[in-house]
Symmetry: C2
Subunit: 335 residues, 2 copies
Amino acid sequence: MVSLKDISLKCGVSIATVSKALNDQKDISDATKMFIKNTAREMGYFPNSSAITLKTNRSYNIGVLFSDEGRSGLTQEYFAHVLDSFKDEVEKYGYDITFINKHIRPMSMSYYEHSRYRGVDGVLIACIDFYDKDVYELINSEIPVITIDHIFDNRTSIISDNVQGIRDLLTYIYKMGHRKIAYIHGAKSSVTQNRVASFYKTVEELELDIPSDYVVEGIYHNPEATAKKTRELLELSDRPTCIIFPDDFAAMGGINVIKEYGLRIPEDISIAGYDGILLSQILEPKLTTLKQDTQLMGRLAAEKLIEAINNPKEAIIERVVVPGKIMHGNSVLKL
Amino acid sequence: MVSLKDISLKCGVSIATVSKALNDQKDISDATKMFIKNTAREMGYFPNSSAITLKTNRSYNIGVLFSDEGRSGLTQEYFAHVLDSFKDEVEKYGYDITFINKHIRPMSMSYYEHSRYRGVDGVLIACIDFYDKDVYELINSEIPVITIDHIFDNRTSIISDNVQGIRDLLTYIYKMGHRKIAYIHGAKSSVTQNRVASFYKTVEELELDIPSDYVVEGIYHNPEATAKKTRELLELSDRPTCIIFPDDFAAMGGINVIKEYGLRIPEDISIAGYDGILLSQILEPKLTTLKQDTQLMGRLAAEKLIEAINNPKEAIIERVVVPGKIMHGNSVLKL
DNA sequence: TCCTCCTACTTAAACGTTTTCTTTATATTA
DNA sequence: TAATATAAAGAAAACGTTTAAGTAGGAGGA
């Protein structure tokens, strides 16, 4: 591997001069700089990130914490898209992305230790058990951190506007003439809390009268659980005219049950999803859903994180709320 | 940050002794080793990967090339699952994963340069334009490389058994009594080549007579393109009784068109997919498809790559063919 | 007793950079 | 002309680690 030393030998200058020339520093004459840069190119030089990181404590590497009960969040379309957008954006600034996990090398490390071990400049936390004490250790460390869809007091977070999202969805359904609206929400999490709270708040504002058995707990991304809850809703003596599912994918389970009952969507019962993944737009009828702006979320997360990396001291703690967009499909009938 | 030097000072031994003790080398008495290890733990020591990598040329970091026309392959369920499994496996051996791309730092680098820059021990190549000259540079470099679903002469590759897969699928459909079987395949790639060749070969073995307009080119993961081709097939004077789609997701487009024509699946027309993603098992009727063993592929890729890393000289070039499994859904009617 | 061989350690160089401080040479000023 | 400022380059230390080579001291053997 060609090193600065090799170039300095070939050019007959010192290593320091080569380093400065390649980094476009002031102290070098244009002629020398050109000469060195050309020689470096000819020799096929490229820098060594380990040496640079060791010396400067700046790795241009960002850690990503992205797991979900064993499975990595990768396999969830929503998070995959956020990560994808995040990756695109940080790459523009010259950053790479490394997954940070607990099990590494002979010893096992905490997230924080792992982050320090790899010398990452910052960490993106998403789709993870936010109540893990190892997450707390990281959150309270000196490493710049951004969280997605979860708020910590001392950290900037990017959150999808679940409050407005559910409000928009519910209001739309209301305006379509529905009054008996059920909601199968996801399992306990801050996302769910926001959605459910917003649901009840909107119900109040709209002066709706929603029986308590219309709001039930399902599981995100779980069509089976959704199917079960849907069945229960359909068995009620006073059946809802519209069901909001935890998310688009889970909705598939509900849709199957509805068909099983010989009911048509939306003629006999209306439905709505959440997320706005590709699938939702391909379903027949097209699903009415709330599309979360994963691209913007990823981009903002990148920008805010890099900002925090560049100004570790004066970093402002922000809660960036990213609005979603309602997708009017054909799954909610105009009554 | 606590360094070996700090520990050595506290313990009153040399830095070398600390290093050896922590790395369980022979040269140290048990008493000293214990003492040093305990002190290290107390002081909150963890190693610095940059320093280790710089010194040893071993980063315990694996590069991943995972992109797809702008979008990263992350957003494709099939590859997301392969990567997920790969990640799980390499982590067991203490490796981390870093995405390798072209744009990094001020200068832009080729994949190879980027790999060297980060000092990755090996690279996984998947879901990418394999005909890119930068991919060739990497393939022909000294860096251990594993490819997924594409064969290079000089590299080990893990490939899903597309030949047997299509054969199994077609044979199954044949045994269900179908003779007029259409195939909408994906765009040009080695995967497609294998599938199409296998389709024709099996057609011959089964002594089927498939008209040439039954085999048409679609686009993977593209429901619209699939819808268009499906429409064309349905418009044929001699309509097929079964259509094989490029993949499960693309199949959605075909399904919609079929419904649009007022046809029932499988009573009026049978269909099959490919991939066996979650979606396929949730569809009603359940899709008959070929499930690719993404978990095994990821694991094997990890094993083979680590093997190559540990034995760069005597690494054997292998083509590991991973069998899939046919999933008998209800989308193919028994004639 | 002396020599040899272990054992348990230390020394010091090296990996490829960056960066502070010096040095040298040249230009500018009085 | 001499003093001083400036530009361009170099020397050397440092980042945290590994490792080959060296050393001291004690045990074992003849």
